[in-house]
Symmetry: C2
Subunit: 227 residues, 2 copies
Amino acid sequence: MIQLKDISKVYTLGTQEVEVLRNISLEIKPGEFLSLVGPSGSGKSTLMNILGCLDKPTRGSYFFEGVSVADLSDDQLAEIRNKKIGFVFQSFHLLPRINALQNVELPLIYAGVPRSKRKEKAREVLAAVDLADRIYHKPNELSGGQCQRVAIARALVNNPQIILADEPTGNLDTKSGNEILQIFEKLNRQGVTLVIVTHDLSIARRAHRIVTLRDGEIIKDEVRRGE
Amino acid sequence: MIQLKDISKVYTLGTQEVEVLRNISLEIKPGEFLSLVGPSGSGKSTLMNILGCLDKPTRGSYFFEGVSVADLSDDQLAEIRNKKIGFVFQSFHLLPRINALQNVELPLIYAGVPRSKRKEKAREVLAAVDLADRIYHKPNELSGGQCQRVAIARALVNNPQIILADEPTGNLDTKSGNEILQIFEKLNRQGVTLVIVTHDLSIARRAHRIVTLRDGEIIKDEVRRGE
Ligand SMILES: Nc1ncnc2c1ncn2[C@@H]1O[C@H](COP(=O)(O)OP(=O)(O)OP(=O)(O)O)[C@@H](O)[C@H]1O
Ligand SMILES: Nc1ncnc2c1ncn2[C@@H]1O[C@H](COP(=O)(O)OP(=O)(O)OP(=O)(O)O)[C@@H](O)[C@H]1O
Ligand SMILES: [Mg+2]
Ligand SMILES: [Mg+2]
C-alpha cells in the first residue's frame, strides 16, 4: 500500500543545508501496525509529513496504492488526505476559534457529509475519547491532553484506512493513553493500517514492527514475533 | 516559600460553571522537589498557572515568600515571574517569528541584562539542552522535542529560584528526557525549588514528594523516604 524509495529531505536555511532525511526506503503493507521511534530531532515528524502527503521529499519516490504521489494534483492530494488518511499532529493543529465538536466535524464537512450525520459522528468519536462533557469547549478552554484527544478524534472521524499518529499519547496519563491505544488497536484489527510515532517504549512494543530512525536514517526495522 | 490555602478556580462558559480546582491547600518549602500527577483534565496546569502568578484563583489565598499575591500590582507580579520563577509551559509558548536564541534571550532582555552577556548566557543554556547547532532555527524549523528544549532553556536562563515545569519531557525520547531531569536535579541540589507536572511515573518517582490531583482536588500528598 505504501512504498517509499530512497527518500531524502533537505531544508535550506539561509546559506546552510540541513539534511533531515537520507535515503529512506520503507514498505508498509495494508493492515500493518508499525511504530516509528528515535531520538528527538531524528526526522520522525518529517517522515510522517511525507507519508501523510503534507510535504514533498527533496529526492526519491513515494507510491501510495501503486500511484506515484509526485504525479498527483493538489486536489487529488487533498482528497487522499481527507478520505484515506487520518493524521494526528504532534502539535495538534486545532482551529482556535471553534470548539471541539466543530474541530472534529471539519473533515466531514470537506467530505460532503450532511449536517445531522456529521454532528452525530463527531459526537460519537468525542465520546469514544472520553470528551463527551467537553465538546463545546474551545482549545484554550481544554487541557493539553484534552486537546490531544480532540486531535485524535478528528483523525478518526472519516473512517480512514490508514492512521498516522505523531506522538498521540505524549500529554496523556497512562490510563487515558491506554484507552487511546485500545481504540487504535481495535481499528487495526478491523484492517486499518496504523503508524504511530512514540517516545514511549511500552507503546512502541505493542506494534507488530518497530522502525528506528537516527539522524534521518533508518537504522533498524524489526518485526516482532509472538506478541 | 509557597503557601496555597483553600484555592478554588471556577470558569464560566456561557451559563455553565466549570469547577476546575476545589479547596486546594498546599505548602512548598524552599529547595523542595515535588512532582504533580493526575489524570488528563484533573487541574494540574491550572494549578501551575496559579503558582506561576499567571492566573488568579476564584477563591482562596496564595502567599509567595510571605507576601499575599492577591495584593501585588501587575508590575510586581511581572517582576516575580521574570526574576524568581522559571516556567516551562505544556505547549511551550515560543514566539514564532524569532529564532531559538532570541526566544531564550527574552527573559534576559526584560531583566535588563546587557546584550553581550545575554547572548553568552542564552547560548550556554541552549548548549546545556543539546541545541547548540539549532540556535538560529525558528520554532517551525525545529522538531517538537527541540521546541520543548528551547522552552526549558528559556525557563532556566534567568537563574530562577523556583522552576515550574509543566510536562517538560512529554515530547522527548528517554535519553533526552533524562538529560533534562539531570539538569533540573542539579539545580535542585543547589537550592532551586522544583515542581514538575508529569504523566511519566519514572520521572515522578525521582521527586522527594508526589502530589496527586483528581477532579480538581488533592487526593494524595506523599513524601518519599530513602530514595
Ligand atoms: N478557560 C477554560 N474554561 C473552561 N474550562 C477550562 C478552561 N481551561 C481549562 N478548563 C478545564 O479545566 C480542566 C483542567 O484543565 P487543566 O489544563 O488544568 O488540566 P491538566 O490536569 O493540566 O490536564 P492534562 O494532563 O491533560 O494537561 C479541564 O477539564 C479543562 O477542560
Ligand atoms: N523547516 C525546517 N528547516 C530546517 N530544519 C528543520 C525544519 N523542520 C525541521 N527541521 C529539522 O529537522 C530535524 C528533524 O525534525 P523532526 O521534526 O522530523 O524530528 P522528530 O524526530 O519528529 O523529533 P521530535 O521527537 O523532537 O519530535 C530537526 O533537527 C529539525 O531541527
Ligand atoms: Mg516530532
Ligand atoms: Mg496540563
